[in-house]
Assembly symmetry: C2
Homo-oligomer: 329 residues x 2
């Protein structure tokens, strides 16, 4: 391609009023219709944001410096952009759009910035935490499909903080994964393991996102919770978490993750669980029955929701590869 020969309408004298259509026009050279649509909406909203706020050059520079700093503080074990997306409510929104749940299935919630790919596989009944200061917690769960059949062989990725409210990767001196594990459900769709009772903790607030929260006069705390991710061929990946009832931050989660259906009461093992799982009767117990949705049902529901939402906005779209693009006449 000789760029000086690219055929695009001449672009000069761009103003507050005509810049948007011109940027969209040159971006429409893009061959990928989905990317073209995403960029068209991105540029429109970015420009409307500047026009509606009458954004000043100084504010613009402050914003760019902030975004630069958010990128620069990221490392292999710190993802400040996910954190920014979380505190702006974008993460929970995208999860809700992309992983719609039919009634009676388990709701999803935010992934958060602390999922890693280094958790080790443990056997059913194994222990995921080595923190001696944590309160021992027995977790016993089932996994079913929406028809009520147990789902065997689901890969479950589980992670939680230690008793001080820090994930393993937040400790500079760690020597391996802790407070996280991978396991697989058995033929009855059951999985169980030993963990510690989750505690509330602040999201990392020593960086640019923390400073943003301070300026907004918002606290950085998340209510006590344990993360779960479920994967099995034929089912929509479920990223979710369980929250402890009556946590001081239950209704003001810094990242907007709490849903009533995911709030649980801890109990005690009692005679039956004590005998079956080899713990004392007063051992703290968490039980939950997860319900996974099939890929097919999810993609049908996602497409239906997309069409309905965009119809409502007056946008004619068609669904291609599961995602909307404009329907051109």
């Amino acid at each position: 391609m000789d760029p000086s020969q690219v055929k695009i309408p001449p672009m000069k004298n761009l103003t507050v009023d005509n810049i948007t259509e011109n940027v969209i026009r040159i971006n429409s050279l893009c061959k990928d219709p989905r990317m073209k649509y995403v960029l068209e909406r991105l540029v429109t909203h970015l420009h409307d944001f500047a026009r509606e706020t009458r954004l000043s050059s100084a504010e613009w520079m402050t914003g760019l410096e902030f975004l630069t700093e958010v990128g620069q503080i990221c490392t292999d074990v710190r993802q400040e952009y996910i954190l920014l997306s979380d505190v702006l409510g974008l993460s929970i929104l995208v999860d809700s759009i992309d992983h719609p749940k039919p009634p009676n299935s388990t709701e999803g919630t935010v992934l958060g910035p602390f999922h890693t790919h280094e958790a080790e596989e443990i056997s059913l009944g194994g222990s995921m935490s080595t923190d001696p200061a944590g309160e021992p917690l027995l977790v016993v769960c089932t996994i079913k499909d929406t028809a009520g059949n147990p789902v065997e062989g689901v890969k479950i990725d589980i992670w939680e903080t230690d008793s001080t409210g820090h994930y393993d990767v937040q400790h500079a001196d760690r020597d391996g994964p802790d407070g996280r594990c991978i396991m697989h459900s058995d033929c009855e769709g059951v999985f169980w393991f030993n963990a510690i009772t989750p505690v509330p903790y602040p999201i990392p607030h020593d960086g640019p996102v923390g400073r943003l929260l301070t300026k907004l006069h918002r606290h950085p705390y998340r209510p006590s919770h344990m993360h779960f991710m479920f994967e099995k061929g034929g089912f929509d990946n479920l990223i979710t978490a369980l929250y402890l009832r009556n946590d001081p931050y239950e209704t003001s989660d810094a990242v907007f993750g709490v849903k009533d259906s995911l709030v649980v009461d801890l109990g005690r093992a009692g005679p039956e669980y004590a005998a079956k799982y080899g713990v004392s009767e007063d051992h703290v117990l968490l039980t939950y029955d997860f319900v996974l949705v099939s890929d097919v049902e999810t993609s049908e529901l996602r497409a239906k929701n997309s069409k309905a939402a965009l119809d409502k906005l007056g946008r004619k779209v068609k669904i291609v590869n599961g995602l909307p693009i404009p329907e051109l006449d």
Copy 2:
């Protein structure tokens, strides 16, 4: 502040439809009304963008990884976020909003990512480029106010590439500033200096912004130009550039900066300039008459434009510290 005691409405069960109002509500704890307004519009547009595109989790992650990479490639001498803002047309838009120009004043344009604070002051008639391969160019300009009076003592910051199309900071082995200078206008509002004829060049496209342009099938070139920034107390800072007519990229600038009023024809010194400035008669000559706008006139025009634009959008605002915030009844 005990964050568990913060008085905000309970936030749980957030959905595609109610997340935005809830994020705005918790952000409204912010004490700064301007920041609160900017964040309200930011969150609204960010969420609407996700809703209108039905953004997928995979696209969301691709976006966050892109933003992370844009931040991580930034250094003291490379500002990829300004570049991103430039290629999305945001930079020229913000400049137009924040530095409105009355008729017969010099228009502004994009700052670009290559302004530095290390340019050295030179005397009138000095040389800003040491590149022996560049075509020598004599630049003779005047600065006036909107009433036609010469403006003395304006600090002028000027920067251009070398003859290969690279700014000094793009050379890893550079040993100081080159192709940039600072000078001050004399009592007749005149400044003049020796430079080299600008050449077209691609913006840095070996990073994430370059990859974005490739995906969009856009070229990364800017037409030949020279940057100028003018500062003097009582006048609105003018950030602008002069472009050479008939450049192959004159109508397809990758960063949307070209305006007809800033496009110039190069000439030859001729007998008068040759005698006055000590060059040969066929020496290449660039002349331009800049017109600066007072701070007062600019802020009145900016406030008037803001009110008019926001009235048109049905937003009742008042101007505080030069910027709009909602007018609450």
